[in-house]
């Protein structure tokens, strides 16, 4: 039984995905890994390795978030005076201090009667950020929350790590969350298990193990990957088994709370670590694979908490402007954290991809 949340009269009113212009094909990097060409091509199909979007050196999450928000302001899709909170979910903060959300606030020149908040979350970051946004909207003074899910983790992944580099992507997504008198009830569940906290980590660079020349030294692991202690590392097998074990019963529990059958959900828009994991989840849950899109990694890479809103922008696109869908959103990974929300999504003011 997860921690349950219920919200009323709240909705997502727009989703904007900001992707780096730079696209790198799997074949361009294949030589970095100790795969045979034949094995690489098999994995390309199974895992969804194809191409990914990664930032240029020096690009930070605030650059991409500001680009996206300025686009919304310039297009008349958002007014500065309606923004009451900036909630940034990222694992790529620009500094230990100040919070990156405050940097974004400063760059945009927003009013001072506003709340800025950084949340350190990963793959479950969209749902966690959404829960925080809905909770903020319980306050009458909050008009609109800008939920930003942004990461540039390609800068922390070793190019010679076949476990992580082929699938990592960078992105920033801006989701506008606001009140709505006619919105349906929203149900959500959250679970965390810190005993698995080190299943995904960047060992060095924090206070516990500051980055030094020694932590930057590249070393080979037992699978032939080269990475340093400054790089992201994940125990892929453990994460895979955790997802296959924990997600199906959580979704079943959520649907039971919502009084819905699996078929009542139009789309299962889940975090996308890789295509294989998503397809196995869909099969295990008895959900047609077309209802659970798994095409984000192959097109853009896995940008952690940004993968669900990227999924919304890419797979629903303009259809979410005129239609309303019953959706189940689920994020899982870092923490370990596993979350899900069931709600309606549609009649959006905007739902698109722009490039930085």
């Amino acid at each position: 039984m997860g921690l349950r949340f219920t919200f009323q009269n709240k909705r997502i009113s727009g989703v904007l995905t900001v992707l780096p212009k730079r696209e790198v094909a799997f074949e361009e990097e294949m030589g970095n890994y100790n795969f045979s060409a034949a094995k690489s091509m098999k994995l390309k199909l199974a895992m969804g390795y194809n191409k990914h979007r990664i930032v240029d050196e020096g690009t930070n999450v605030s650059d991409m978030c500001v680009h996206g928000i300025e686009h919304l302001l310039n297009e008349g899709l958002l007014r500065k005076e309606d923004i009451s909170a900036l909630v940034l979910v990222t694992q790529s903060p620009e500094h230990f201090m100040p919070p990156t959300s405050n940097i974004i606030h400063g760059k945009l020149g927003l009013n001072t009667n506003i709340l800025c908040m950084d949340i350190n979350q990963g793959c479950a970051g969209f749902v966690i950020g959404l829960l925080q946004s809905y909770m903020l909207l319980e306050q009458p003074s909050i008009k609109k929350v800008l939920l930003m899910n942004a990461d540039v983790l390609s800068r922390k992944v070793s190019k010679r790590d076949r476990n992580s580099n082929p699938l990592i992507g960078d992105a920033a997504c801006i989701t506008v969350v606001e009140r709505s008198v006619d919105a349906c009830v929203i149900n959500a569940i959250a679970n965390m298990d810190g005993r698995g906290a080190y299943a995904l980590q960047i060992p060095a660079g924090g206070f516990k193990m500051p980055s030094t020349p020694a932590t930057a030294e590249m070393k080979e692991d037992e699978s032939g990957n080269f990475r340093s202690l400054d790089n992201l590392v994940m125990k892929g097998d453990e994460v895979f088994n955790f997802v296959q074990t924990e997600i199906p019963p959580m979704i079943e529990e959520l649907l039971k709370i919502s009084g819905k059958a699996a078929n009542d959900i139009d789309y299962y828009l889940f975090h996308q670590p890789n295509k294989f994991m998503l397809n196995k989840l869909a099969d295990k849950m008895g959900i047609p694979r077309e209802k659970m899109p798994s095409n984000i990694v192959e097109n853009f890479g896995n940008a952690s908490g940004a993968s669900i809103p990227t999924n919304i922008s890419f797979n629903l696109g303009d259809n979410a402007l005129a239609n309303i869908y019953n959706v189940c959103l689920s994020g899982f990974g870092l923490g370990l954290t596993w979350t899900a929300v069931e709600q309606q999504l549609g009649n959006l003011s905007f739902n698109k991809i722009v490039y930085y």
């Binding site: 098999k42 199974a46 076949r162 699978s223 294989f276 196995k280």
Partner: protein, 76 residues
């Protein structure tokens, strides 16, 4: 079924003789990425979808164990 399993394994890693091995994992013949490719090939060959919770290295350590997991998941 065992012959089909050995054939798929050999296509995956032609440099090894899977019929002579007692433990594919211990002997370093399959890593986690090979298991992903193997599961994909087995799913396709036998028209099933091996349950995600069955995708553990020990279930793919021998042709006999692979046959067991295939039968558990409905392969005939």
């Amino acid at each position: 079924m065992k012959q089909e399993i050995i054939k798929i394994l050999t296509e995956l890693r032609p440099e090894f003789d899977f019929s002579q091995s007692t433990d594919f994992i211990e002997e370093g013949m399959l890593d986690s990425f090979d298991i992903v490719a193997l599961v994909t090939a087995l799913d396709e060959k036998f028209g099933i979808s091996i349950d995600g919770t069955d995708i553990l290295p020990e279930n793919f350590s021998s042709a006999e164990n692979i046959e067991t997991v295939l039968r558990k998941n409905g392969a005939k």
